[in-house]
C-alpha cells in the first residue's frame, strides 16, 4: 500500500509526486506573479512571505522524497532501451532542477545572514552567507533553474499523457493508484 514494489508506486511515492508537482507549479506561478508586483501592491510583502514559507516546506518534502526514492524499490520502466534511458535522464534532470531551484531560492533570502521564517512558526537558519553578490547570483540561478524545471516538467507531463493515450501503458495509472504494486508488469502470471 504505502511502499513501492518493482511493479508499481506505493501511496507514499504517489502522494510525494503529486504534492511536489503541485508545490513546484504553484511556487512558479506565485513567483512569476509576485516579481511583477508594484511596490504599492498590497501583496508586495505578503506574496514573497508565502513563496518563502511554501518553498521551505517543499524543500522538506523534496528531501523526504529523495530519501524515500533511495530506500525503496523502483518500478521498472516500460519501453525501448532508448526510451528507458531518456526517461531516466529526464527524471534525474527533474530531481537536479528541483534541488537547484530550492537551494538557490534559500540562498537568496539567507544571503545576508537572516534566516527564513516558515509561516512565522519556525525559522530556517542561514547556513551559507556572504558569498560575493550572493543574493543576485542565486537569484539568477533560481530564475533559470525554475524556467528549466517548468519546461522539463511540461515535457514530462506531455510524455506521461502520450504513454497513456498513445502507447496505452499503465505508466500514468501507476502514478495515480498504488494498485500496481501488487500486479506483475504485464498482467497476471
Amino acid at each position: 500500500m504505502w511502499r513501492n514494489s518493482t511493479s508499481g508506486w506505493g501511496l507514499a511515492s504517489i502522494l510525494l509526486h503529486w504534492l511536489s508537482a503541485l508545490g513546484f507549479v504553484g511556487l512558479f506561478v506565485l513567483g512569476w506573479w509576485m516579481t511583477g508586483l508594484d511596490y504599492y501592491h498590497g501583496w508586495y510583502h505578503l506574496a514573497p512571505w508565502w513563496h518563502r514559507s511554501v518553498g521551505m516546506l517543499v524543500l522538506l518534502v523534496t528531501v523526504g522524497r529523495l530519501i524515500w526514492r533511495w530506500v525503496q524499490p523502483t518500478p521498472g520502466l516500460p519501453g525501448s532501451r532508448l526510451e528507458r534511458f531518456a526517461a531516466h535522464l529526464g527524471h534525474t534532470g527533474l530531481y537536479v532542477l528541483m534541488l537547484l531551484v530550492l537551494v538557490s531560492g534559500y540562498l537568496i533570502s539567507t544571503a545576508e545572514g537572516a534566516g527564513i521564517s516558515v509561516f512565522g512558526v519556525v525559522d530556517v537558519p542561514a547556513l551559507v552567507t556572504g558569498l560575493p553578490d550572493q543574493a543576485s547570483l542565486a537569484g539568477t540561478i533560481h530564475w533559470y533553474a525554475a524556467l528549466g524545471l517548468m519546461g522539463l516538467a511540461a515535457g514530462h507531463g506531455l510524455i506521461a499523457f502520450k504513454h497513456h493515450w498513445v502507447d496505452r501503458h499503465d505508466t500514468l495509472k501507476r502514478m495515480l493508484t498504488p494498485r500496481f504494486t501488487q500486479v506483475r508488469r504485464h498482467g497476471g502470471p
Partner: protein
C-alpha cells in the same frame, strides 16, 4: 661634543622635512583596516530612512596642510558590495530596476578641484560616475584629525557628504514619493601617508 652632534643631526633632519612633506602628501585610504566607510541614506516612503553601506572600495588622496588648495581625492567603489542589511532588498536595488550592477559594477569619484573654506574645511569638486552616468558634484569635507598613529604610520582622516538626485544618474524613482528621489551620500575615511 655630544650636544654638537645632536644639534647637527637635528639640523640635517630639519632640512629634509620640506622634501619629505612634499612626497608624503599622498595617502592611501585605509580600507584594509576598515577605517573607511561609504554610506548612504535614503527615505523610505517618507516614513523613515534606509541606511546602506558600500563595503568594498579603494581610494587615495593627496593632502598637504601647507597648500590645501592642491588637495585631490579619488575613490573606486564596487557597487556589488552594497548592503542595507536585507538580502532581498539589496538584490532588488542592485537589479536593473535601480543600479543595474551587472551592467555598471563600479562607481567612481575623481576630484577636479578643492576649495578651502576654513581651517581644515573645504569643498571638494569632482566627477561622480554612478550607473554609467557622470555628474559633477560638490562635497563639503572636514578634516577630522591627523597625526602619528600608535603603529608607526601617519594618518589623516576626513568626512564629507553630498546629496545626489538619482534621476541625474538615470535611476528612475518616479514611481516613488518625492522624498525618495534624492539620497545622501556620506563618506568618512582615514588615509595612511605613503
Amino acid at each position: 661634543m655630544f650636544k654638537k652632534t645632536a644639534l647637527g643631526a637635528a639640523l640635517a633632519a630639519a632640512s629634509l622635512v620640506p622634501l619629505a612633506q612634499a612626497q608624503a602628501a599622498d595617502y592611501v585610504i585605509d580600507t584594509e583596516g576598515q577605517h573607511a566607510f561609504v554610506q548612504f541614506k535614503i527615505s523610505h516612503l517618507g516614513f523613515s530612512y534606509i541606511l546602506g553601506s558600500l563595503e568594498e572600495f579603494d581610494g587615495e588622496f593627496s593632502y598637504d596642510p601647507e597648500s590645501p588648495a592642491a588637495s585631490s581625492a579619488s575613490l573606486e567603489v564596487d557597487v556589488e558590495s552594497l548592503t542595507t542589511n536585507h538580502a532581498e532588498r539589496d538584490k532588488h536595488i542592485k537589479s536593473d530596476d535601480f543600479l543595474d550592477v551587472a551592467e555598471y559594477p563600479t562607481a567612481t569619484f575623481t576630484s577636479t578641484g578643492f576649495e578651502p573654506t576654513g581651517d581644515g574645511e573645504g569643498v571638494l569638486t569632482g566627477e561622480l560616475t554612478l550607473h554609467g552616468q557622470t555628474n559633477t558634484i560638490e562635497m563639503p569635507v572636514t578634516l577630522l584629525g591627523e597625526g602619528d598613529d600608535p603603529w608607526g604610520n601617519y594618518r589623516a582622516g576626513f568626512e564629507g557628504s553630498a546629496t545626489l538626485t538619482l534621476a541625474d544618474y538615470g535611476i528612475d524613482m518616479s514611481s516613488f514619493p518625492e522624498a525618495m528621489h534624492e539620497l545622501e551620500l556620506y563618506v568618512t575615511f582615514e588615509g595612511i601617508r605613503q
